[in-house]
């Protein structure tokens, strides 16, 4: 395999994978945001969360 062919394969395959991953992250990331906000709004969770630092 020549360097040129290798870089062609790398370029096309990574762009294809990134396009696919973008779809996953767009939809499933929105779901994660909802969960994050819900957890942060729950005042009963981790009341001592700063106690072990520094």
């Amino acid at each position: 395999m020549t360097w040129e062919l290798l870089w062609k394969v790398v370029l096309v395959s990574t762009i294809g994978l990134f396009a696919l991953m973008s779809l996953f992250v767009t939809f499933l990331g929105a779901r994660d945001i909802k969960r994050l906000i819900r957890k942060l709004e729950d005042p009963t969770e981790d009341p001592q969360q700063d106690s072990h630092h520094g």
Binding site: R35, Q49, G54
Partner: protein
């Protein structure tokens, strides 16, 4: 700047509609920052988003942080000057991140220990002095490292919008961007950073993919490879050849820098890992992010290559040839401008606005992450351990916010006065190396070798200062770089060779120091080794 240069730089498709897109996008980002401000009450929430981030949001925020505007700019510069040979760094970055995801190398044990910062690990594993020394090294390197971010990002904005023809525009764009980032970062901390990283991911991934497809369509797939052959020869494809500024020592240096350090040791990436909800989520985050770690280099390299092709083979770009690649003499313009100027001409309105908005978002997300990480390290790992009385959470958040503003002032100062002329990527690898050469070794040995002692860790961390010899102004001052004639310079040691040497010294000193001065048994903290 002469009239012909001004005329060439002022040509851009960026118009009113693009300005509206950018302004609307920025307003949305600021509103998000304001809305989530109420969650930033505790240090764990402010710095680590409460350690409640899911896998897919984690991938978005990792990508948002690491795919910054400065990354796009320095990578495009490498693509413009080195052609497809630069792709080797992207492959190493992707493979290195995948390795970290599959094995949990360094980040897995760190997440398990539940530290907020890397220096915090130094204290748990070694002792408080090592934590403070490690934090100082980290801050010195990190702050130097981001010194050129503001200028580089602003160069993109003025290049792509056609404002580069106005010599004062760069300064005012720097001021505007800095104020925007400072207001935004001090508001909401890590939670607002993560949410806007997500929005940035969505906008930027669309912009990157569409712009790349459009560039290929306009320039022609075969034409791109033919022009690189013609302009750069075999060195434009083969990274083992020295002609394009790479070679074997550079590749090995990149294996460490882009491959392992960028994902497993660099604090902004590690901060994302430490904000995840579990170690399992960290591994998944890294496995998926390996695609992002490769693409964050590949697409900008390719854009730099497209800029080269546009300037050298397309009639519409012929007026740029004398500025960036003259047949005789040296270029009159910094080649960092090549990609944004060409993109300003190649992309149509609306898409140009979306790409610019995405890039400004990328600029903001990198800056806020870096500001937050370094100021947090100063607060948590230098100031708090040195105080006799414990600092309250409110005092820590307040100090962190004040430090963010101080760091902003430094970044503006450094952007205006640093005189080095090395490629931005090489500047970043060298300055970052002050921290990561030692930290890489100390983290690796500290986590996986029980015999590592505090003294060994201290010596390993300190050896990072050898990397200062890789900075161009220092190389010239100590004679490592010397003038052959009026315009040519020769190096006794390249910055990549200095980097490899520093890693070797760090390994030797850490092992030798640990064997010669082992910790007393009571100081052993075996539960913190993997």
């Amino acid at each position: 700047m002469n009239e012909a240069t001004q005329e060439a730089l002022s040509q851009s498709n960026f118009g009113v509609v693009d300005t509206v897109i950018v302004v609307v996008y920025l307003c949305i980002s600021v509103v998000i920052g304001l809305l989530v401000n109420r969650y930033a009450g505790s240090m764990v929430n402010y710095v680590g988003a409460g350690r409640k981030v899911g896998v897919w949001l984690g991938v978005a925020t990792m990508t948002g942080t690491e795919l910054g505007l400065v990354t796009v700019m320095y990578s495009a510069q490498k693509g413009f000057s080195g052609g497809f040979a630069a792709f080797h760094m992207a492959v190493l970055a992707g493979v290195g991140t995948l390795f970290v995801g599959l094995t949990g190398f360094i980040v897995g044990p760190l997440r398990r220990i539940e530290v907020l910062t890397i220096p915090e690990f130094y204290e748990k594993r070694f002792n408080r002095p090592v934590r403070i020394v490690g934090a100082v090294m980290l801050v010195v390197a990190g702050v130097l490292n981001m010194g050129l971010f503001l200028k580089t990002g602003s160069m993109f904005i003025v290049g792509v919008t056609g404002l580069a023809s106005d010599s004062s525009a760069l300064f005012w764009v720097m001021i505007g961007l800095l104020l925007l980032v400072l207001c935004y970062t001090t508001l909401g901390g890590m939670i607002s950073v993560i949410l806007t990283d997500y929005v940035q991911f969505v906008v930027l991934s669309f912009g990157l993919l569409t712009a790349t497809a459009l560039a290929i369509g306009k320039l022609g797939w075969s034409q791109i490879f033919e022009v690189v052959h013609h302009e750069l020869g075999p060195a434009g494809f083969d990274p083992t050849l020295e002609g394009a500024g790479f070679g074997w020592s550079y590749i090995v240096w990149m294996l460490i820098t882009a491959g392992l350090v960028g994902s497993a040791v660099w604090p902004t990436a590690v901060a994302r890992a430490l904000a995840m909800e579990s170690e399992q989520a960290v591994r998944k985050q890294y496995m998926w992010s390996s695609i992002s770690f490769a693409i964050r280099f590949i697409i900008p390299y390719f854009w730099g290559i497209c800029a080269l092709v546009f300037i050298c083979s397309v009639p519409a770009g012929s007026d740029l040839k004398d500025l960036f690649r003259p047949d005789e003499g040296t270029p009159t313009l910094n080649n960092l401008y090549a990609m944004p100027v060409v993109m300003g001409r190649l992309l149509p309105p609306v898409l140009l606005g979306i790409v610019t908005a995405g890039m400004i978002a990328a600029f903001m997300s990198t800056h806020d992450s870096y500001f937050l990480t370094w100021s947090c390290v100063i607060t948590q790992d230098i100031v708090a351990p040195l105080m006799r009385k414990p600092l309250s959470t409110a005092a820590r958040v307040r100090l962190t916010r004040m430090l963010i503003v101080v760091l902003g002032g430094y970044v503006l100062y450094w952007s205006l006065f640093y005189q080095g002329s090395e490629d931005i990527w090489d500047y970043m690898a060298v300055t970052g190396g002050i921290y990561f050469t030692g930290a890489f070794v100390v983290l690796m040995l500290g986590l996986y070798w029980k015999g590592t002692s505090s003294c060994g860790a201290f010596l390993g961390l300190m050896s990072g200062f050898l990397m200062l010899l890789g900075l161009e102004p220092i190389q010239k001052a100590v004679g490592l770089k010397y003038a052959i004639n009026d315009s040519e310079w020769a190096e006794r040691l390249t910055s990549s060779q200095i980097g490899l040497l520093t890693v070797g010294v760090a390994i030797l000193l850490t092992i030798a120091g640990s064997l010669a001065w082992p910790d007393k048994p009571a100081q052993d903290n075996k539960e913190h080794t993997a």
